[in-house]
């Protein structure tokens, strides 16, 4: 078995296609290093400015009454491993703009200034490179692994050895796998070196662990296409047929399925709309209702006469409305996530995306990070409101109409006491357990490919058709 392995390895290393593969892969990884160096620089500047601007809002707070009407902006953290899997870090709603006042609006948005016009395109992260290029290279390396030997007549010699056929298969598979994983390792190291030297990332243990896990995922993913390539290379009579079949399968799995998923998701999952219209309507209704009832907010000195009776009624009604509109926005967000999840489900059929989502699991990024962030962001709104209400209760001078700035405590408030948003980061363990399904699918696909290859090998003809 080992002689075959070494032989295939040596053949590979000498072959034009492997050398070309290495060059192409390196180009992509260098591109990755460049893009993320630029990007890292930009994000660093942006993060600092955004953080400063955010802190300024807190610093400008004078009193509870003042704090209620301010607009705060909380952001999710920067993972630092985006170059491995971008996973929507630019696009997903990683920022919440919030106002504690009952009549304030809360809305999610991107945490970065991103160019919406470029949404059609993928970005060169490692997951992308491996997803497209490694699968393609796996095919390019194996399409004539057996059919080529059959055409050149060496297959007879090979199988004349007293070796089980499965060993031949495994030896060839391992040799190709070693080549590919080595190539990715080299490419990844180049990219890491570029990013490390430019100061974009710190080359620490966490990056090393991510790298190793990424290589494991790459190996499983490459296996799917290597084994598929070997299987078809045995089954197909000629190398050309084998290649055409394989590339078509590749195009279907890697290019086509992911491109249809969005349309399928939009067609099959109904959403409640963007939420703003519905919420706006509810506000209009409530306003009309309050107006009919003659309930309105009055200047402080007028309201004091009857003990803020109207204001209390107004506030009670508006708190209900606030709960209702927030629920609408949550529902609408759930609908959008649901649609994305459906598209993801369709994508997961493709080994490429099973791999992609596994890597998102490894780097603790992607939709599971968002789903971790969203409740925390809403939770922070609650915390902030709770804090302001408690502060207001402590002031005997205040009319205590909660979360209506003008009727709350005017006593000076030290801004350092206001709780800041501290996100509990998604751990790799949690994120991996969230990404179980794609990992299982990927493994299952690798095993299925192995089974296919074994079956094909056992039934294979040694001689070329018509070669008696």
């Amino acid at each position: 078995m080992f002689p075959i392995l070494w032989l295939t390895l040596a053949d590979n290393l000498r072959s034009l296609r492997f050398q070309l593969s290495l060059v192409v892969l390196l180009c992509f990884f260098v591109g990755n290093g460049l893009v993320y160096t630029w990007k890292g620089e930009r994000i660093a500047i942006e993060n600092e400015q955004v953080a400063n601007a955010g802190e300024k809002v807190y610093e400008s707070v004078q009193s509870v009454s003042d704090a209620v009407g301010k607009r705060y902006r909380i952001l999710s953290y920067h993972t630092g491993t985006e170059f491995v899997a971008e996973a929507g870090s630019d696009w997903f709603d990683y920022a919440l703009n919030l106002m504690p006042a009952t009549q304030g609006w809360q809305w999610f948005g991107s945490s970065r200034g991103t160019n919406g016009w470029l949404r059609r395109f993928e970005i060169v992260d490692w997951a992308f490179i491996v997803r497209y290029v490694i699968s393609f290279l796996a095919i390019a390396l194996t399409y004539n692994a057996i059919s080529g030997e059959r055409e050149s007549g060496t297959l007879r010699l090979l199988l004349a050895n007293p070796l089980p056929r499965a060993h031949v298969l495994v030896a060839k598979y391992l040799a190709h796998l070693m080549c590919l994983v080595a190539a990715v390792t080299v490419g990844g190291l180049v990219s890491l070196l570029m990013l490390g030297l430019s100061g974009t990332i710190a080359l620490d243990g966490r990056v090393a662990v991510t790298f190793v896990l990424f290589l494991v995922a790459t190996a499983v993913y490459a296996s799917v296409f290597l084994l598929l390539g070997l299987a078809i290379s045995v089954a197909a009579g000629r190398s050309a047929t084998s290649l055409v079949t394989l590339i078509l399968v590749w195009a279907f799995l890697i290019v086509v399925i992911p491109q249809t998923s969005r349309l399928i998701a939009v067609a099959t999952v109904d959403t409640v709309g963007n939420g703003w219209d519905e919420a706006g309507e509810l506000v209009d209704q409530t306003d009309a209702e309050l107006k009919r009832a003659g309930v309105a907010l009055r200047p402080l000195e007028w309201a004091r006469d009857d003990g803020f009776d109207l204001e209390k009624r107004y506030a009670r009604r508006y708190r209900q409305l606030d709960d209702a509109t927030n629920e609408i926005h949550r529902q609408s967000m759930r609908g959008r996530v649901e649609r994305y999840r459906r598209a993801r489900l369709v994508n997961s059929i493709s080994p490429g995306f099973a791999f992609q989502y596994s890597v998102e699991g490894i780097t603790a990024n992607g939709i599971q990070r968002f789903e971790h962030f969203e409740p925390q962001a809403w939770g922070y709104l609650k915390t902030l409101r709770r804090f302001l209400i408690d502060r207001d209760e402590a002031d005997p001078e205040s009319p205590h109409i909660h979360l209506f700035g003008q009727y709350m405590s005017q006593a000076p408030l030290d801004h350092r006491q206001i709780p800041r948003f501290v996100e509990d980061k998604l751990t790799v363990g949690e994120s991996l357990s969230g990404a179980r399904a794609p990992m299982v699918i990927l493994l299952a696909e690798a095993l299925a490919a192995l089974w296919l290859a074994l079956m094909a090998f056992h039934r294979a003809d040694i001689a070329e058709a018509g070669d008696e």
């Binding site: 016009w117 470029l118 395109f121 497209y132 249809t260």
Partner: protein
């Protein structure tokens, strides 16, 4: 003789399984893409109609000039039927732009009905993509062993022994190959046509038919180009297997690779201002504007509360005192001037870099035949960034016309900006000078009596009598915002030239190389 050669090539291609396999896959994929795109088009079209209806209803309801902005300052472009074939940036989505006295639109928005940031990470398939990836691969497969294969099999000697001019061999290879590629291409377009014509929402104008045939011709040219390029490789390389490897890698890098690398590079190769600077700039402009208004208010003190009292319904003031009206009108006139200044200042802050990046994609696409073909198709379908930019520019132009119209109707200095009351309407407080502050409390008997009077008056208002006549407002025509055929062709010129030149060069190089070569 050349006819025999072409026939031979055609038969050789048609007999193999690869052509059939690819044809089936291409037609199935195009069917899928166009079918789903067409469904999406219908959905978007219904949405477009509802938006249009909403807008014209709002227009009918306008009774004061201040409401005109909400009702008319919006531009909507219907979904592009050819976006089904070449999705480009907007696909079949409704595009539009909103503007105002104080707002210059920068780019058009894509009106998605339900805006979903999560789906942004997922790209979509279209017929152009299928041709660019799948059919171009077939072209590579047909071309890679065109010459080296014949040489290896020894058939080249036989062929040339028949006193066939060498140029004819290459020509036959090209013609035969393109004809074979033409079959799956024509079938896909047929499927696309059937899907489009069966959709009652799709109305194809003469212009669209020309564009559609342009897309078809462009696809033929593109496939011929890829075929010629791979023939060129096969003329240079001795072994077919080497030629295949080179062709395949070139295809990978040129299609999927470049398609995805390009935006990343263009994105981060352009200096882009951090988003916070935009927010700060906006805040600064707002401050300047507010400063102007505060200054005006200091110079022109408002009349006392008794003069300002009126009744506000749906953003329209009623029963204003003439003095309050004069004061408000002067303030408004000043505000309009400052708003126009504010809009200009804001426009300078707009993310120019974002547009530059997106435009770079259109420009740099020329470097790879595959992306060049895609962008050229999108130009024909009017779905490139440049087309979106054109809509934005047309909207900016329309904004000026719109402001000019409002000015000419005297809207900014007219009482009708604030109120639709008839001239000489009795104010809420007819004699403000004789009112004491206590009488102004909301629950004072005097105010309650006045409000009861106002309510009674309002009951009798017939809104139809009061609606503003906007029939002479210059309309925005969607066709002005879109490139006509000439404009499209002009933008396509560089890309087309590159396509034709590289095709021609590949053919010439193949000829010369092959002419000098030994047949074995």
């Amino acid at each position: 003789m050349i006819r025999v050669l072409i026939r031979k090539e055609l038969l050789a291609n048609l007999r193999t399984a690869r052509l059939g396999l690819v044809a089936v896959l291409t037609v199935a994929l195009t069917g899928l893409a166009v079918g789903m795109g067409s469904m999406e088009f219908s959905r978007n079209y219904t949405y477009y109609e509802s938006r249009q209806r909403e807008l014209s209803e709002r227009r009918q309801e306008v009774t004061t000039w201040s409401q005109v902005q909400r009702a008319t300052a919006r531009v909507i472009i219907p979904p592009q039927p050819l976006g089904v074939l070449g999705r480009g940036l907007p696909g079949t989505a409704v595009q539009g732009a909103g503007f105002g006295v104080g707002r210059i639109p920068t780019m058009v928005w894509i009106d998605d009905q339900d805006y979903n940031r999560f789906l942004k990470v997922i790209s979509e398939i279209d017929a152009t993509m299928v041709i660019a990836v799948v059919l171009s691969f077939l072209a590579v497969i047909l071309g890679f062993d065109g010459i080296s294969g014949e040489r290896e099999r020894g058939t080249l000697k036989l062929l040339l022994a028949n006193s066939v001019p060498r140029s004819h061999v290459v020509l036959a290879k090209l013609t035969g190959g393109v004809t074979s590629l033409w079959i799956p291409l024509a079938l896909s377009y047929l499927v696309a046509l059937v899907a489009l014509l069966n959709n009652p929402d799709v109305v194809l104008e003469v212009d669209d038919w020309i564009r559609l045939s342009g897309m078809f011709l462009l696809s033929c040219l593109f496939l011929a180009q890829v075929l010629a390029l791979s023939l060129m490789v096969s003329a240079f390389v001795r072994e077919s297997s080497t030629s295949l490897v080179i062709c395949l890698f070139a295809w990978l890098v040129g299609s999927v690779g470049y398609m995805n690398l390009l935006p990343s590079l263009s994105r981060y190769g352009v200096h882009e201002r951090p988003s916070q600077e935009f927010r700060d700039g906006h805040a600064r402009n707002r401050e300047i504007f507010d400063g102007h208004m505060d200054g005006w208010d200091a110079r022109h003190p408002a009349p006392a509360a008794a003069w300002l009292a009126d009744v506000s319904r749906d953003g329209v003031r009623h029963f204003m005192h003439p003095e309050a009206l004069t004061w408000r009108r002067d303030r408004r006139e000043f505000e309009i001037d400052k708003l126009l200044e504010f809009a200009d200042a804001e426009y300078k802050w707009w993310p120019e870099a974002l547009a530059e990046e997106a435009r770079l994609i259109d420009r740099w696409a020329i470097l790879s035949p595959v992306t060049n073909y895609q962008i050229l198709s999108y130009m024909l379908a009017r779905t490139t960034f440049g087309d979106a930019w054109k809509i934005g520019a047309a909207t900016r132009h329309y904004r000026l016309t719109w402001i000019e119209y409002l000015r000419s109707r005297g809207a900014f200095s007219d009482r009708r900006w604030f109120t639709d009351d008839p001239v000489g309407q009795q104010p809420l407080i007819p004699d403000p000078a004789g009112v004491t502050p206590g009488m102004l409390d909301a629950d004072s008997p005097f105010m309650q009596a006045r409000h009861a009077w106002a309510d009674e008056q309002l009951q009798r208002i017939d809104a139809n009598n009061r609606s503003l006549d906007l029939s002479d407002m210059p309309p925005f025509t969607a066709t002005d915002a879109q490139r006509d055929l000439g404009g499209t062709l002009a933008t396509m010129l560089p890309g087309l030239l590159v396509l034709l030149l590289s095709f021609g060069t590949a053919v010439i190089i193949t000829f010369t190389r092959f002419n000098r070569d030994e047949p074995y």
